[in-house]
Symmetry: C2
Subunit: 377 residues, 2 copies
């Protein structure tokens, strides 16, 4: 299929840009001597994860058991489920493990560790378990210096489970926008996670893995001593939030939404397109950043950014493209006639991708091929 034959709205992957993004992260982490375990929650797409694997990634990270099941069915066997385990999901995890999946699960409390031990004893199974460490206060995890850390480790260890390691995610990196601040947070993420591992080891427990990562800290890190693997997800596509954070440019964003002009309000300078929030997602991640892109940046059909325009508003199936200066623009009807194709860059690739049952992967010669993605839990 050629670009001009695609029904809109559609989620396009620029294959050349994606390949460059994959290559960049892989080379950076290989040079630092750590494994890359990409987070496939961004794409939820087998074709994308295969390209990450071919470039050198070891194993994958998932955010749901459905992702684990889908990727395992496609041949990915080394899977880390990086959300703290709800006890009632243990049966489903165990079923996947029994089918041959090397699934690692996560806890950050004594109660959850006890539930894992109870299920492990009941099923005569030793789960591979990591403990989540809170390295920046933004979400889950136990403090690296907390007494509870050792307690959790002991519950698992003495309960016959395999304490595989510690894991952290410096998600607050999304709020930064200088390389200096990112490097500092990357070092904090590394140091606190390594410290947690050392405390567990000092208490007599093997804790072989130290897993850190977020796309910004992964790219900013200059030293990963003590770390064994890095998890990063959104780097595969990048997006406008990452551009504002400073780890990519809009021209490196590999995911875009192809839209068609369906109307105008020239006295407001508006172009109406058939890509509203259902096509872009409701993500407004750039709202409090350096540049607020509304619901997206506007590019021509070839993917070149058109300066001075942005998606200022969105209804379910209507996107409103405005001038940054808010001026009237009688010429807008002639400049972007009804039927014109535009590409819109997303604030947040994970959220925008989730709106689509499939991507269209566009090769450098302009051919577009559907790549399935999946939805739900």
């Amino acid at each position: 299929m050629k670009l001009m034959d695609i029904e809109t709205p559609a989620a396009l992957i620029d294959e050349a840009r994606m390949a460059a993004n994959i290559d960049r992260m892989q080379k950076h982490l290989s040079a630092l001597g750590v494994r890359l375990r990409p987070h496939v929650k961004t794409s939820k797409c087998i074709e994308v994860a295969r390209r990450q694997q071919e470039a050198g990634a070891k194993g994958i990270t998932v955010s749901t058991l459905k992702e684990a099941e889908q990727f395992f069915a496609a041949g990915f066997a080394d899977i880390l489920y990086a959300v703290c385990m709800a006890p009632e999901k243990l049966d489903r995890a165990l079923a996947l493990i029994r089918r041959g999946c090397a699934l690692t699960i996560l806890v950050d409390s004594v109660a959850a560790a006890q539930a894992v031990v109870a299920k492990g004893k009941e099923a005569a199974h030793a789960f591979e378990v990591m403990i989540e460490i809170d390295s920046d206060g933004h979400r889950s995890g136990v403090q690296p210096e907390a007494a509870e850390l050792i307690e959790i480790g002991k519950v698992l260890h003495e309960g016959g489970q395999n304490l595989k390691g510690v894991l952290t995610h410096a998600g607050s990196s999304y709020d930064l926008d200088t390389d200096e601040a990112l490097q500092k947070l990357a070092e904090q993420e590394r140091a606190l996670c390594v410290r947690a591992a050392e405390r567990l080891r000092a208490a007599g427990m093997a804790c072989p893995e130290v897993s850190v990562g977020s796309t910004p800290t992964a790219l900013a890190a200059r030293n990963l001593a003590g770390v064994t693997e890095v998890r990063a997800g959104v780097y595969v596509f990048f997006d406008l939030v990452m551009s504002n954070v400073g780890v990519c440019t809009p021209q490196q964003v590999a995911l875009s939404v192809l839209a068609t002009v369906i109307g105008h309000q020239p006295e407001k300078g508006w172009v109406i397109v058939d890509a509203g929030w259902m096509a872009m997602s409701r993500d407004r991640g750039t709202q409090r950043q350096k540049i607020d892109y509304g619901y997206g940046a506007v590019c021509d059909a070839s993917g070149r950014v058109i300066d001075g325009l942005y998606v200022s508003g969105a209804n379910q199936e209507h996107g409103i493209i405005s001038r940054r200066d808010g001026a009237a623009d009688p010429g807008v009807v002639q400049r972007f006639p009804i039927g014109t194709k535009l590409r819109l860059l997303p604030n947040h690739a994970c959220a925008t991708g989730a709106q689509y049952p499939f991507y269209l992967a566009v090769s450098p010669d302009g051919d577009a091929v559907p790549w399935q993605r999946f939805q739900g839990w």
Copy 2:
């Protein structure tokens, strides 16, 4: 399936609440002597639309051709596609019409009307076409007093197409929060759309239909003289945005997300649940309203609102429930132990529903049955 056996996160429909919402809108509009053509973009679910039809709705409104195709395949034949037509979608619309669907399409420009005429002539077909009127400046539509309105009508009429009527959507009603302001906007919506129809009729064109509607203006309207049908969508579920607008209470919201507690940060008063923005959507529609609910209101498993808590933050698969007062809360671990089920009410039902491949419809006796919904375009 019983509530406690449901894997989380899951989108629950409270059938009793939904039935009451359907009944309320239908009775209100029947009393005003107009037809209800519900907008099924909210649910994208055949089971839901059937209940609206059984209650007395005439025809449906859709926001995509995929919705039209899916609902037509399920036996809904009278369909209004209420987004201005992109010329390249005319073939797909025509294919649906050739299969027997009574599909009405929409334009708001001479250029789009000309494209419809060209396709109609090429295919020897007279499309049923409505003209979108801008009654509140929030999006698409031609001004009711504009010369272009008559021009569009003439292009269609003289081009052999059926000018079925005029349509408007007072979407700015979502920004209001008093009955007085809503009644005023409902009257503006009615008066301007009727005026547009009268101008077309005075110019010698039949214009039988006058279609208005948004959930808030539909419920606020006291007089719909000259209007033939009302479109409303979100009333079927309602949501927190509608509660802030003042047309429902949180206890009338029929859509909720069932979540499981997976962790705590007691020194911050946080409860972490397995429903993040993928489960709630990124919609922050209450952000600038009277009550900002973050990513959702918190209820116990039976659906009773728990005061003083809200979903203050969301990552992809993590929801952070905080106290409104932001206080530390060591008791939170005992009050909501790991594994606790909570129901979260959404800001925007259309956006939250879209995150799920199916709903679970919960009957008054607590049985849950899956109802499919569809995704994509």
